[in-house]
C-alpha cells in the first residue's frame, strides 16, 4: 500500500517538471495560436547551454541560470521576430512546418557539437537529499524544489497576465491582433516578448531536466509530447489546469512504471488518450479552441 502512495507522491512531484515544460508551450499557444514543435528541443538546448556555462566557468547549474535565462530569452525574441512572425497567418501549415524543420536542425546541430553522449548537470550531494515523511515514505528535496518552483512560476505568470500592462497586451493580442494593433500595440513585438517569456521558462525547465535526468540531443521530442499532453489534459487557456495535467501525466507514468518498467511512458500516453476521449476540451478548459 505504502509503495503505491510513494509512486503517486513521486508522480505528483514529476508532474511539477512536466508543468514547467508545458507552461511555455501554453503561453505561446495562448498568445499567438502557435504550436512550437521545437519546444522540446529548446528545453534540451537550454540544458546544453547550461552545461557549457557550468563547464566554462565552474559555477553550479542553478547559478548558471543567470546566463542561461537571458540567452534563451534573447534567442526566443529574435527567433520569433525574424523567423516565426512571418509564418503566422490564416494558413496553419507554414508555422507548423517551419518549427518542424527547426526541430530537426536544432537536434542535429546539438548532435554535431555535443555528440550523442548522455550528459548530466551535477549538483553534488544535494541531488540525493531527501526528507523522511514517515518510516517508509520519503520525498527528494530537489524534486520538491522543482515542484514548488513550478507552482510559484505559474502563480507569477498568472499575475503578469492579469495585473500588468504587458499581460493586458498579451491578452488583447490573443483576443484580436488587428484591434490590438489599432490600440497602439505592436503585435510583432508582443509575440516576440511572449516567445521570450516562454523561453525563460524553457531555460529553467532545461536546467531542472539536466539535473534530474541524463539528457542527449535526441530527447527533445518526447519532452514536447509530455508538455503537449499536460496542456491538452489540463484544458487550453488555464495555467493551473496545465499544472493539473502535468501532475496527472506524472502520476500515470509512475503508476505505469510500478506495474512494469516497460509501461511507464505508455501509461502516460494512454492517460492522455483517455482524457481526450472523455473530455476533449481538457479537464479545466477556459478558452474555446477555435
Amino acid at each position: 500500500m505504502i509503495e503505491w502512495v510513494n509512486s503517486i507522491l513521486q508522480g505528483v512531484l514529476t508532474g511539477g517538471l512536466y508543468a514547467l515544460f508545458a507552461t511555455g508551450l501554453a503561453i505561446i499557444f495562448g498568445v499567438m495560436r502557435l504550436v512550437n514543435i521545437t519546444h522540446g528541443d529548446f528545453i534540451v538546448l537550454a540544458a546544453f547551454v547550461a552545461l557549457v556555462v557550468v563547464e566554462g566557468t565552474g559555477v553550479g547549474p542553478f547559478v548558471s541560470l543567470i546566463a542561461v535565462i537571458p540567452i534563451m530569452a534573447v534567442f526566443g525574441y529574435v527567433l520569433q521576430r525574424g523567423v516565426l512572425n512571418p509564418t503566422l497567418g490564416p494558413d496553419l501549415l507554414p508555422p507548423l512546418l517551419v518549427t518542424f524543420g527547426l526541430s530537426i536542425v536544432v537536434q542535429n546541430l546539438l548532435l554535431e557539437v555535443f555528440s550523442a553522449d548522455s550528459q548530466r548537470l551535477k549538483i553534488g550531494a544535494f541531488e540525493t537529499l531527501s526528507i523522511n515523511l514517515t518510516e517508509n515514505l520519503a520525498v527528494g528535496v530537489f524534486p520538491l524544489i522543482i515542484f514548488v518552483t513550478a507552482v510559484v512560476l505559474i502563480f507569477a505568470i498568472q499575475l503578469v497576465f492579469n495585473r500588468t500592462s504587458l499581460g493586458r497586451a498579451f491578452r488583447a493580442t490573443s483576443d484580436d491582433p488587428v484591434t490590438a494593433q489599432l490600440m497602439g500595440i505592436d503585435h510583432s513585438h508582443v509575440y516576440g516578448l511572449a516567445m521570450a517569456l516562454a523561453l525563460v521558462l524553457v531555460a529553467i525547465a532545461g536546467v531542472f531536466l539536466g539535473v534530474r535526468t541524463n539528457f542527449d540531443p535526441s530527447v527533445g521530442p518526447s519532452r514536447l509530447l509530455f508538455a503537449f499532453e499536460a496542456v491538452i489534459m489540463g484544458g487550453l487557456g488555464s495555467l493551473w489546469g496545465t499544472l493539473a495535467g502535468g501532475i496527472i501525466l506524472g502520476v500515470a507514468q509512475n503508476i505505469g512504471a510500478k506495474i512494469d518498467p516497460g509501461f511507464q511512458i505508455l501509461a502516460g500516453h494512454i492517460a492522455f488518450l483517455v482524457v481526450l476521449a472523455i473530455r476533449p476540451n481538457g479537464l479545466f478548459p477556459r478558452t474555446r479552441d477555435d
Partner: protein
C-alpha cells in the same frame, strides 16, 4: 463539354499540352522502368525500390496535408503497422507476402477509424502532435508483443522469403515489380481522386474551409474519408517497405524519420500538387547520394532548405515552375475556354 450561348461558346478544358505530351513520355518511362529487371543491376534496383516507396509515402502525406489540410507528423504509426501486419500475416496465416500488402492496407484503414475518433478532436497544430502521440503508443505497444519479437524485433522466416521466389534475383525482380505497381497505383488513385468531384471538394477545402462549407461541402466527412484512405495507402506501403527489409523492430518501424523525410520532400517539391512530391523525391535522392557521407549536416541542410522554402516560396519548387511556365503534367483543375461568336 461545350455550352453555346448568345455571347459565344464555353467549353471546359481538363487536359493541357504538357499533360498530353507528358502522358506519352510517362508511358515510355514506365515501360523502361518495368523492364528494369532485365537491364538494371541489383544496386540500381534496390535504389529504385526505395525511390518508389518514398515517393508513394510522399504522395500519401501530400494528399493528407496538402489537400485535406490534415498535417500529421505521426504517419509512421501506419508505416510501422503495415510492416508488422506483413510479418504477422506471413508468419501466422497462409496468405503470401504479396497479398499481405493490400490486406495490411485494409487493416490500416480499419485501425485508422478509432485513431481518427481521437485525433480529430484536436484542431490545427495540436492535431499534428496528437498523431505523434498515437505513433508513440503504437511503438511502445508493439514493443510489448512478445510473439512479434517484443522490443528487439523479428526476422521474416526463411520459408516465407522462399515463397516469394526461389532464387535471389527472382525475389529482387518480384519485389521490384510489386514496388513499381504500388507507386503507380498510388499516383493513379490520387490523380483520379483529385480529378473527380471529391477532388474538387478537397481543392476547395485546401483553398478556404469556410468557402467550401458555404458551398455545401461536408468538410469533416471529406477529411475523414481522406484520412482513412491515406491510412490504407500508408499501411500498404509500410508492408512493402518491410518486405524489402526482411527484418522489423519497433524502433525501425515507427521511426519519425519516415514522416520527416516525406515532409521535407513534399515541402521542397511543392505541397498541394501531384508533381511536387515527384520533384521533391528526385531532389532528395540526387542530393542524398553525394551528401550522405556528411550525415547530420545533410539533415541540417534539408531542414534549413525546408524552413527557407516555407518562408520564401511556400508553394515549393514545382509551384514556382507551374506558375512561371503554366506547366501541369497532372492537371486536376477545370479551365473554362470562351470563344466569342464569329
Amino acid at each position: 463539354m461545350t455550352e453555346a450561348t448568345a455571347q459565344g461558346r464555353y467549353s471546359v478544358i481538363r487536359s493541357t499540352r504538357a499533360s498530353r505530351g507528358g502522358a506519352v513520355a510517362g508511358i515510355l518511362l514506365l515501360l523502361i522502368l518495368a523492364a528494369a529487371p532485365w537491364w538494371a543491376d541489383r544496386a540500381t534496383m534496390r535504389l529504385l525500390v526505395e525511390i518508389f516507396y518514398i515517393l508513394a509515402l510522399a504522395q500519401m502525406w501530400n494528399l493528407l496535408a496538402g489537400y485535406a489540410g490534415l498535417v500529421s507528423v505521426g504517419q509512421q504509426a501506419f508505416v510501422g503497422l503495415g510492416g508488422y501486419m506483413l510479418f504477422a500475416l506471413a508468419i501466422f496465416t497462409p496468405v503470401g507476402a504479396a497479398w499481405s500488402i493490400p490486406l495490411a492496407g485494409l487493416i490500416g484503414a480499419v485501425v485508422s477509424l478509432p485513431v481518427a475518433f481521437l485525433v480529430f478532436r484536436l484542431r490545427g497544430h495540436y492535431f499534428a502532435i496528437g498523431t505523434w502521440v498515437v505513433a508513440e503508443v503504437f511503438l511502445l505497444g508493439f514493443a510489448q508483443i512478445q510473439t512479434l519479437g517484443g522490443g528487439s524485433g523479428i526476422s521474416l522466416p526463411v520459408s516465407v522469403v522462399r515463397d516469394i521466389a526461389s532464387s535471389r534475383s527472382g525475389r529482387d525482380a518480384v519485389i521490384y515489380l510489386v514496388a513499381l505497381a504500388v507507386v503507380i497505383c498510388i499516383i493513379a488513385i490520387v490523380y483520379g481522386l483529385l480529378r473527380s468531384r471529391h477532388g474538387l471538394a478537397l481543392t476547395a477545402i485546401r483553398d478556404s474551409e469556410e468557402a467550401s462549407a458555404s458551398l455545401g461541402v461536408d468538410n469533416f466527412r471529406a477529411k475523414l474519408m481522406i484520412y482513412i484512405f491515406v491510412a490504407f495507402g500508408t499501411t500498404a506501403i509500410g508492408a512493402l517497405i518491410f518486405l524489402t527489409k526482411l527484418r522489423i523492430s519497433p524502433a525501425a518501424a515507427f521511426d519519425i524519420n519516415w514522416t520527416t523525410t516525406v515532409i521535407f520532400i513534399v515541402v521542397i517539391g511543392g505541397i498541394g500538387t501531384i508533381e511536387g512530391p515527384i520533384i521533391g523525391t528526385l531532389i532528395y535522392f540526387l542530393l542524398r547520394e553525394p551528401l550522405a557521407q556528411f550525415g547530420t549536416w545533410y539533415l541540417i541542410l534539408l531542414g534549413l532548405v525546408a524552413v527557407v522554402i516555407m518562408l520564401k516560396a511556400p508553394q515549393g519548387i514545382w509551384g514556382l515552375v507551374a506558375e512561371r511556365w503554366d506547366l501541369r503534367f497532372f492537371p486536376v483543375q477545370r479551365r473554362l475556354r470562351f470563344e466569342p461568336p464569329d
